[in-house]
Each structure stands twice: as C-alpha cells, then as structure tokens.
C-alpha cells in the first residue's frame, strides 16, 4: 500500500474548494507528496503536504477556479426550474396518489388556516394607535385568601396617584365604561352605550374626529358619537352642536363625530361622554380603592420612558394603599397590544385569551399532523416504485442534496396544490365558524396580503415537515441496491412506528365520532329537558319601563291570552343571587325570583305545602321556598310554614313550599331558591296563551304595546324558543365535533386508502400466482385486507380507552351532566368506524383480487 497523504489536510482542501474543479491540483499535491516520501521520508512529506495545501489555498489558482465555478453555476436557477419541472411531471404521472395526498393535506390544513387567519387578525389589534408603543393599561390582581383574580381594570384612585406622584407619564386616561343612555325621540327611543372618558382620550388613542375638535370632551354633558351612531340617531354626520336628550340624564351637546373605528381595537363604544359629566363623588372614597368594576386606567408614558419604572411605582403604591388588610392587591403594567389576549376578567371590550388559541392550536395540529404523516407514510412506502429513478439519478452523478431537494420540491408543490383546496374549505367554513364564536363581530377573517403570505409560508412549512423524512430517506438510498430493486430494510424497521401512528389516527377519529354521538344525545336531552315548569304556550315580554300593572291588565284583554303573570326574570334563563338569614339565623346563599300571584299557576309549578298566592306589595311579607332550601336549613316541610327568614333587612314569612324545579340551566344543580313578591322588581310579563296563530297574536301584542310602550320596540318571544337558544352552545359543540370528526375521519380514511391501494398493487403478482393455483377472489380480498383489519381493531380498542379517559377527566367534571357514555355510544362509534374503514379497504383489495392473473403475469 502506498503511503497516504494526511487525510485531514486532504479533506480540508476538498472542503475549501467545494465544487470548484481542482482534481488536477489534488493530483499534483499527491504526486509531489509521493516524490517527497521517496526523497525525505513520510513525516517530512506529510509536513510538506500541509504546506503545499496552504500555499494552494491562498493562491490565485483556487480563487480563479472558484469564481469561474460560481459564474458557471448561474444556471443553478435553471436547476431549480428543473426540480420544479420534474416534480410536476412526477406528480402528474402518479395522478391518483398525488390527488389523494393533496386532498388529505388540504383537509389537514384547512383548520390551521382558520387558526392562522384568526391569530393574524388578533395580532393586529390596536396597532393603529400612533402612540401605541407608549400606552399601557393598568391591571389589578386581587388576592383574598386563596382566591386570586386578575382584573383588566384598576381603581380610578390609582390614576389620580400616578398623575400627582409619578413623573414619567405624559397622559393618564381614566375610563368609566358604564355609560348607558336612551336618546329620546318622538317615535321610539334609541339606546346607546359607551364610555365616560377624559378629554385626552381622543389625543392619546388614534380615533380621528370627522367633525368637531379634539377638545370636544373638556366640559360636562358633552358627547362624541361615532359616525355610524350619528347615522343611526340622526341619519346624518353633520350633527356637531346638536343637543340631544337622554332619558333621565338631561341634555347633552354633541361636540364631535368620530370616524368609525376599525374592528381591531379592544374598545367597543357608540359614544364617548366627557368624564366631568360624572358627579365628583359618583363613587365613595373607599370604593375608589376597592372597586374595580367598570373602571379603567391607561397611561401614556413619555417617549422612550421605561415602563419598568411605572411598574416599580405601582408595586410601591399597592404596598402602601391597602384598605382591607386581608386582601392583597397588585397592580401591573400591560402594553396596549397585549390587552386583547390577556388572561383576565372584566375586560373593557372583546377578549381573545391566548389559552383559547392554544386549545384551538392543539386541535388544528391533531388534524394537520395525521395528514402530514399520511403523506410521509405513503411516500416512503412507495419508495420501491421510485427507487429505480433514484438509483439512476445517483449513478449519473446526482448528489445527495440534489435528490433531497428534488423530493422536497415535490412535496412543497403538492402542499401548494393542497393549499388551494384548503383555502376552498376555509372559505366554506369561515362564516359558519365565525357564527359560532361569541365575539364573532370583532373578528375579520378576510384574506389580506399578510394572511395570504402567512398561508403560503405555512403551506411550504407543512411541505417541509411532511416531505422531510421521505426526502431524507430517498437521498440516502444506496444506488446499487436501489437499481437492483432491493429496497433497504430500513423502511420496514419503521413499520412499527407507521402502524402505531395509523392506529393512533383512527383512535383519534373514533374519539371525535364518539364525542359527536355524546354531544348529540346531550343536545337532544336538553331539548326535551323537564325543567319542572311549563315551557310551551308561554310568551315573555320585556317590560322596559312600562307600568307592569297596566301591561298585565291590557294584555289580559287580548283574545288568545289566558293569563298574564309578572316576574323579575325567566326561570332557567336569568336569576339573581342573594345572601339571606335562614330561620336559624345562619346566612345562606339563595337564588331569588320576584313574581306575582299568577306566576305559580301559569308556570305549572307544584306547591308541596302551604299556599302560593300571598299579596304582592311593596313592603313584602311573604316568601316561598323550594324543597332544597328546607333541606339545606334542616327544616322539615311540616314545620316550615310560618317560620321567618331575613332577607335584605325584612323578616319574611315562609308561606309555602315549592317542589324543586330547575331555576337555572340544566347543568347547574338545583340549589336553594326563594320566590318573593315585591312589585318593584318586575321586569317582564309572561303571557300564557292558547292561540295557535302566533302571527295574529303578535300583531295584537304589537298594537297594544304601541299604546303602552315607552317609545321602545316590543321584545317578546316564546319561552321554549328562548330556552332552545340557550342551548345554542351545545348545538355549536355538536357542529364543531361533527365537523372536526369529519375532517379527522376523512384524513384517516384517505391515509388508509393510500396504503391499501399501494400494498394491493405491490402484491398483485402474488395474488395472480395464487389465483392461478386456484384461490378465489374473496379469499384474496381477505388476504389483502387482513393486516388492515387488525390495525382497525387495535385502533378501536385504543379509541375506546382514550375516549373513556377523556370522558372520565372532562365530562364528569361538568356538574349534573345529563348524558353518560353508554355501551351503545361506543357500539355506534365502532360500527361507523369499522364500516367506513372496511368499505375503504374492501373496495380496493377486491379490485386487486379481481384482476385477471393473465394480465399481470404475461410479462413474466
């Protein structure tokens, strides 16, 4: 064996020269080295070799060749074009698989597109404010005992303190967000709502005025309305200087009309009222520190001021100003653009908590990853078909990275095709999805340049994830083995993982299907839920400042109305809680409803003991309690009557006991409940009707209301319809689970289809030989399907375990959840999944089994 030059030096040389043609130089080096060895021995020669390498590295020769190489590399772009061309041709050649893959990826990506467009819109929230970077809101964390609550609001007193004591603030804005008014018009009053704000509000935040000047809010009883509010009220935006009367609040001068603000702000208002309109002591001195509701503090710092300083100041402030010793309060600085995604209560406007995004993200991933995995799976499995091509490419000098890029390009092209499909699905489900969201009005899922770009990046990224593994696999194929059609065993070593992932996919689909069944049953149960009171033939009418007695007497006269009762709300839909002292003197939290003497009968409530028609009077004396109340206070129903409990300072006598009924939504367990008879609290009339002609009835109602109504439109609806609406969330859950289940299932089935088609094709020869030897089509179908049947069975077993676990951990935590997971649910899920899976498998395997063996074997 000849002496070898130092390996490291040679590698270094090769690395440095890269793709420049230096074969002859390396040859020169080697020849010189051998000469040296002969003359001076191996050690000297090695040293010399190193020296020669370095002399070459710094020589013009290499520089020149590298430069020439770079110039000649210009058609590298052409190479990319070639990758693209080959990719498209390949995809076209294997149309069936390409379509299958594209379809699967499209489904997988669709949900992610929703997430991306949503997040990209949310991230633009409040980015239009000129001083946005310097604006911070102050949030409060209140700890009482072990209970910690984060509020988006802060006591107004903090604003005063910052104003007087903290130097770094350019402006401190106080907002009181409970401005509600009713603009008085002759025909019909129009309600508006908005904020009380300081004059500087319009300068700090970028809300430009169309008419009027920025000092518009410097005086009391001044109001700035938005453009659309102005149109709504006066049909014109030229309304500056106009006076408008707000019911019970006096005259207000419109001092400005604001251009409509974009959707992407965390403020929501129709009008801004000058802060000075509020009486100086609209909240008491102590409440200024302890009250958080509706009060918001925003600080605009001087430019480039460090918010940390403000934070330190606030920490110190919280330490000195604790009013109640057992309550700990902390204030924090929150940048403007983080407000909308912050996790806290009592926000001033719409909220998009980040945790919601995380949950949504996980769901999107659960749909996307199986789709990616299917692609990877099918691609690797098809290695056999492509191995000849790869072997030839490699033999002809294709570099590993070139083949890698070739396959990645193929995947990226397919994901881009899939993106088009995903976009289609996205556009299809967008509206539906938005209608399910509580804060839908604050979301704009239109496709902008930014989202389009994000979609594109996402598609390419998905392509890289899905195609990375197969590309790596193909790039590493040994050309000799590949050409001999001997696919290395490394694929089959991953068979276990592949099987596992397929099983997991189907298990996931199974969970979705199962949750669909459960939600469906829950919804159905709720629709027919027995609340313990009458739901049908009842119409609730919002009283809206009319005289309750008058409404009752007038409505009673209408034909078709049997009886009218008054109440402070609708059971199961609205209720208020209060602390009372039970007969034993202990305090007890109860839910209350104010009713009149007709209510119990109209709503078909059962009186267990005593009577249920006490007089309705301003200084109420009687109360009705439910059975649960007696149970909680340890009074037997027999001795309950005549006992008193103290409610808001009054001793009320228990006059009757009502059978338990659901006064709250079904998921809330039945708790302590009292009926009270104070006429001051009536807000709605409940009409018991026997008319089947709802239209005539409502027309009559409208007519009567016009005479009674306080210039406001009639608000009436059937009780059962209102109850159904309150279950809307379940319907949405049903839809969501159904849709996601459909997606997950389609992705899994597509993956399965791809695998089955591929393996059946692969085993065609075997099937043919068997058939020639006498096997029939059905036994062949079974032979080809057998493995997949096993997979499906495992998937279902895992799915059952998984859904049981989910059910145990999530559903059982929802109190009084009506539906339970039954054997039938599981069976329905099994049958559905097995049926679809079998259909997918059998159609393909049967097709393979039916092929004429002569067709296949004639070439052999």
């Amino acid at each position: 064996m000849n002496p070898q030059p130092p390996k490291l030096a040679r590698q270094f040389f090769d690395w440095y020269c890269g793709h420049a043609p230096v074969d002859d130089l390396a040859g020169d080096l080697e020849e010189l080295f051998l000469l040296r060895v002969a003359q001076k021995g191996i050690f000297q020669a090695k040293l010399f070799y190193w020296k020669a390498v370095f002399s070459l590295l710094f020589s013009y020769a290499i520089r020149r060749r590298k430069k020439a190489r770079k110039l000649s590399y210009k058609p590298a772009f052409g190479l990319w074009g070639n990758y693209l061309k080959v990719a498209i041709r390949n995809l076209y050649q294997y149309k069936y698989f390409s379509l299958l893959n594209a379809f699967g990826l499209a489904i997988g990506m669709s949900v992610s597109l929703l997430l991306i467009s949503m997040y990209s819109y949310i991230s633009t929230y409040d980015d239009f404010h000129e001083h946005g970077e310097d604006i911070y809101s102050i949030t409060t964390t209140r700890t009482e005992g072990i209970e910690t609550i984060d509020y988006a609001s802060a006591p107004l007193a903090v604003a005063d303190k910052i104003n007087t004591e903290f130097g770094g603030a350019a402006e401190v804005i106080r907002i009181y967000n409970s401005f509600v008014g009713e603009v008085v018009f002759e025909r019909e009053n129009i309600p508006i709502r908005g904020y009380y704000v300081e004059p500087d509000f319009l300068e700090t935040f970028t809300f430009p005025l169309l008419h009027g000047d920025p000092s518009a809010l410097s005086q009391p009883n001044r109001i700035v309305v938005t453009e659309s509010t102005a149109r709504k009220l006066f049909n014109s935006t030229e309304v500056v200087g106009k006076l408008m009367e707000l019911k019970n609040q006096g005259l207000f001068e419109i001092s400005g009309v604001m251009r409509d603000y974009p959707k992407n702000t965390h403020f929501r208002f129709e009008a801004l009222v000058s802060f000075s309109t509020l009486p100086t002591h609209f909240i008491s001195e102590t409440e200024r520190w302890t009250q958080y509701q509706n009060q918001f503090v925003y600080v605009r710092l001087n430019q480039q001021a460090d918010p940390q300083l403000l934070q330190e100041y606030l920490t110190a402030l919280a330490d000195q100003s604790t009013y109640q010793s057992d309550i700990k309060v902390r204030y924090a600085v929150q940048p403007l653009d983080e407000i909308v995604t912050a996790e806290n209560y009592n926000g001033i406007g719409p909220k998009w908590e980040i945790s919601g995004f995380i949950v949504f993200g996980i769901i999107a991933l659960l749909i996307l990853l199986p789709a990616c995995f299917n692609y990877t799976n099918i691609s690797i499995a098809r290695a056999l078909k492509r191995s000849k091509e790869i072997g030839l490419r490699k033999t002809l000098g294709g570099l590993r990275q070139q083949i890698f890029i070739q396959f990645l390009t193929e995947t990226v092209v397919i994901t881009l095709v899939a993106l088009v499909g995903a976009l289609g699905i996205f556009l299809l489900i967008r509206t539906e999805f938005q209608s399910m969201m509580v804060e839908a009005a604050t979301l704009d899922l239109g496709i902008t340049l930014k989202t389009a770009l994000l979609f594109l990046i996402f598609a390419v990224f998905t392509g890289l994830i899905a195609g990375g593994l197969p590309a790596l696999h193909f790039a590493r194929l040994n050309p000799i083995q590949a050409l001999r059609s001997k696919v290395s065993n490394s694929i089959f070593s991953t068979l276990g993982i592949r099987k596992g992932l397929t099983i997991f996919q189907f298990a996931l689909s199974f969970c979705f299907v199962l949750s669909l069944v459960v939600f469906g049953r829950q919804y159905n149960t709720l629709l027919h839920f027995d609340f313990g009171f009458r739901k049908d033939n009842l119409i609730t009418v919002d009283l809206r400042n009319t005289n309750p007695e008058l409404v009752r007497s007038e409505f009673s006269k209408l034909p078709g109305v049997q009886s009218v009762s008054l109440s402070s709300g609708t059971p199961a839909l609205s209720n208020s809680r209060i602390w009372v002292h039970d007969p034993a003197g202990d305090s007890l939290e109860v839910t209350q409803l104010f009713i009149d003497e007709n209510f119990i009968a109209d709503f078909n409530l059962k009186v267990v003991r005593g009577q249920a028609n006490p007089p309705v009077e301003k200084n109420e004396r009687y109360v009705l309690v439910n059975e649960q109340f007696l149970e909680a206070t340890n009074i037997s129903p027999e001795e309950a009557l005549g006992k008193t409990c103290r409610v808001e300072g009054n001793e009320l006598v228990i006059q009757g006991v009502i059978r338990n009924f659901h006064f709250a939504p079904p998921q809330v367990p039945i708790g302590n409940f009292i009926f009270r008879f104070n006429p001051d609290h009536f807000t709605q009339a409940n009409l018991l009707v026997n008319s089947t002609d709802a239209f005539t009835l409502f027309t009559a109602l409208e007519k009567t209301w016009k005479e009674l109504g306080d210039n406001l439109p009639l608000q009436a609806q059937f009780l059962d319809a209102a109850l159904q609406d309150s279950f809307l969330v379940y319907r949405y859950l049903l839809k969501m689970a159904g849709f996601l289940g459909l997606l997950a299932l389609s992705v899994s089935l597509l993956g399965l289809l791809g695998m089955v088609v591929y393996t059946s094709e692969l085993r065609l020869k075997e099937v043919s030989v068997r058939k020639v030897l006498g096997a029939d089509a059905w036994s062949m179908t079974y032979l080809l399907s057998k493995d997949y049947l096993k997979l499906l069975t495992w998937a279902i077993l895992l799915g059952i375990a998984l859904s049981l676990f989910i059910y145990q951990t999530i559903f059982t935590r929802i109190p009084d959840y009506q539906t339970h997971l039954t054997v039938w649910d599981v069976l329905i899920g099994c049958v559905l999944l097995l049926g679809l899976g079998l259909l997918t498998i059998a159609t393909q395997t049967y097709k393979a089994a039916k092929t004429n063996p002569a067709e296949i074997l004639k070439m052999e």
Binding site: D24, A52, A61
Partner: protein, 109 residues
Amino acid sequence: MKLYLGELEELVLLTVATLGDHAYGVSIQQEIESRCNREISIGALHSTISRLEDKGFLKSWLGGATAERGGRSKRFFELTPSGKKALNETKSLRDELWRLSQLKWSGAK
C-alpha cells in the same frame, strides 16, 4: 492593451514550451527547480499559471486519470499563439537592449 510578462511568468511560459507535451503542474515545478535551482511552491506556481491563462498565453486540457496520483487526472498546459508572440516580443526587446547596451555577452558555455 499590451500585456507585460513578469519574470516568473516568462520562466513558466518558457518551461511549458520546453516540456512540450508533458507540461503539467508537477513537471513544470520540477523543471524549474532543477534548471534554475529555485524552489517554488505549488501554490505560487499555479497562481502564475492561472494568471497566464487569464492573459490568454496558456491553454490547458485535462489528461486521463493516472494511478500514481491517487487516480486523479493531470491538467496539461500549452502555449497559445499569443503566448508565443509575447515570449518573442520579450526576447526581441531584450536583444535590442543587449545590443544597445555597453555590456558584452559572455555567451553560454
């Protein structure tokens, strides 16, 4: 533009011309070393050759692979017509200067 020949460039060109069909990196270096008793690194040599190629005085082609060089091929060099012309011009300029100078040529032994 007139291209001048540096001293080493001239030496390399002449050596290539001398070696004829066997002018490649190592042979050129060995030739210069033995004839001029001058050590020249392979890097410096190839730099000069590359410059001469830039100037269009040399052209090259790749020979076949050889066993003693680790299977690597040789790059052979050859004078181009303009290379020959440049050598001629250099020589005639020198001769002219010699003729005009007071020096006496002692001649080669």
